[in-house]
Symmetry: C2
Subunit: 338 residues, 2 copies
């Protein structure tokens, strides 16, 4: 790889001049600039990022750490993040930790070790606390999407899951349902407890009984939707409506119910969460799931802005907590009780 000194020699100028050309700085004649650019083209010169960021201590890169790209809404977020970054002249690179915490630590060290100016931490693994505390001690700029640590002074970009679940239950109650159940996600994750909380609060709003047998705890793994559906079917006091932790669980439940001859929405109504259907619109499923949609474009924009303001202010910017509301998208998976 050609270096700046090769270009300098070839163009008959000094390193300084070459550097100025590549940084669009003033103080270099059009003629000289031309010579330099020509030499650079001939030698396929690209400035060395490592050397550059060593001296400027900036990389113009923001790193994003994913637990795993399991849901279509995550990939949707990825696209929005890249768009938001490029608007500020920043690069955005991702890593996929395959749900492995050690891998995550490895990548965080990689980014924080000078490979990125800041990081966006996406996910709701509570083990991220250690990572976040380390970042704070190092005064490294970062934002957190989805996770929440109220005692830590960090940028929080959040979806109002509590309110989302609450709205969903109110919607079902508006259809005259009064036996509304909930299938939780992994309670290790804040998202799950927030949604459960919203569910319970809504029942209380409505003066409805919170029945323990109507709350089914799962870890949101593949297959647990079907298991939850079976459990509900065995109940004497079967619910007439269910709020699922997410769309995948909802779809699994629908599948199981149909298989058992229980029709959705005729016999039982279901609301999902995430609205991944927008990503799967090609599927010829006659039933479309009613679900809570999340504004991932706004989330991405907010995360990039928060991280960037921390970077440019060298940590002086106040941390932000931004919460975005969900929106109920009606499909045909819910029916009123007559």
């Amino acid at each position: 790889m050609a270096s700046i000194i090769d270009i300098a020699r070839m163009a008959g100028v000094s390193k300084t001049t070459v550097s100025k050309v590549f940084n669009n700085q003033y103080g270099v004649s059009a003629e000289t600039r031309q010579k330099v650019l020509e030499a650079a083209r001939e030698l396929h010169y690209t400035p060395n990022q490592a050397a550059r960021s060593l001296v400027t201590s900036r990389t113009n890169v923001i790193g994003v750490v994913y637990d795993a790209l399991v849901s279509p809404i995550y990939t949707e977020l990825a696209g929005h993040l890249e768009k938001a970054c490029s608007g500020y002249g920043y690069h955005l690179v991702f890593c996929n930790c395959n749900d492995n915490h050690e891998t995550k630590v490895r990548y965080m060290n990689y980014f924080a070790g000078g490979s990125a100016d800041g990081v966006i931490l996406f996910g709701s693994d509570h083990r991220d606390r250690d990572i976040i505390e380390t970042l704070l001690q190092n005064e490294y700029p970062f934002s957190v999407i989805e996770n929440r640590f109220d005692d830590l002074n960090v940028n929080h970009i959040l979806i109002n899951n509590f309110d989302g679940a609450r709205k969903a239950v109110h919607y079902l109650a508006g259809l005259n349902h009064n036996r509304i159940a909930h299938v939780t996600g992994n309670m290790q994750h804040r998202v799950a407890s927030d949604r459960l909380n919203g569910y319970i609060t809504a029942l209380q709003d409505l003066n409805m009984l919170v029945r323990p047998e109507h709350i089914l705890y799962t870890d949101a793994a593949i297959g647990c939707g079907a298991a939850a559906a079976r459990a509900f079917m065995e109940l004497e006091d079967r619910p007439t409506a269910i709020l699922a932790f997410n769309d995948i669980i909802a779809y699994e439940m629908i599948g199981y119910f149909q298989q058992q001859g229980l029709q959705v929405p005729e016999h039982i109504s279901i609301v999902g969460f995430d609205h991944i259907k927008s990503q799967l619109s090609f599927l010829p499923v006659s039933m479309t799931l009613t679900s809570m949609a999340q504004p991932m474009d706004l989330v991405a924009q907010a995360a990039v802005e928060a991280t960037l303001s921390l970077i440019t202010s060298k940590g002086a910017a106040p941390v932000q907590t931004r919460i975005f509301d969900t929106r109920l998208v009606e499909g045909n998976s819910c029916w009123p009780v007559l």
Copy 2:
């Protein structure tokens, strides 16, 4: 951020010793090592990647360039790539170009400019030729997945799309279909022409007529499956079976046909390509699409190996072309003609 010299001072040793500790080198007593590690912990020291890679001219990073994370098989690949890399002690970062060619060039310069030791270029955009030629001139290590430039001396990791389409047609012919149509993808992309080619060759194998009206050219955008389905329905000589360029098109067609009262597979058989169903197994669709599955785990492993061998041999390793076969996964979207 603390630097090596701070640690050295604190531990009362020289920079060299600290460096040795962090590179697990011999020639440092257990006691000294302990002191250094303690000082490092106290100051939250992380070696600076830029400085390190400036002097070693290695980053231990492989970059992956995606056109866009549109299909579930792409995210599946991302997971496999990370796994393959970590097995070799390498980091894997990727970027999402949102289908923008300038963005892609930008990221390539970023990676090739010393931010990664090699790159994996995923996709089948023919405009990648320029990028690849530049990389070759710079003698930068890289591999290409899915794309193919036979005149360029590069690592090719390929899916045998030609053979896949051919097998699919033979499968349909085995079910006594003799009016088999094909919906293409974007013919700018090699994948599309390969599959079309396989389709045509299979027809010739079977002494069947290649009917132009049975070949429908699309760009694989959202909605073109439905459009293709409509076009076929208006045909006098309607096909009894269709090989779709990919699963998304296939699903869209099925949706349109059903909407028009044409049942799949009773009235018309359909084979897709990609087998994304493995990623969408939660969906309660009673119909499962027969589709050609691709071994993304092997593809990922091969791509990482090819790139790494180029990196470690400093370009001396011979370039490889590895082609992986697809596998027909039977669903229930095809019926025999009686």
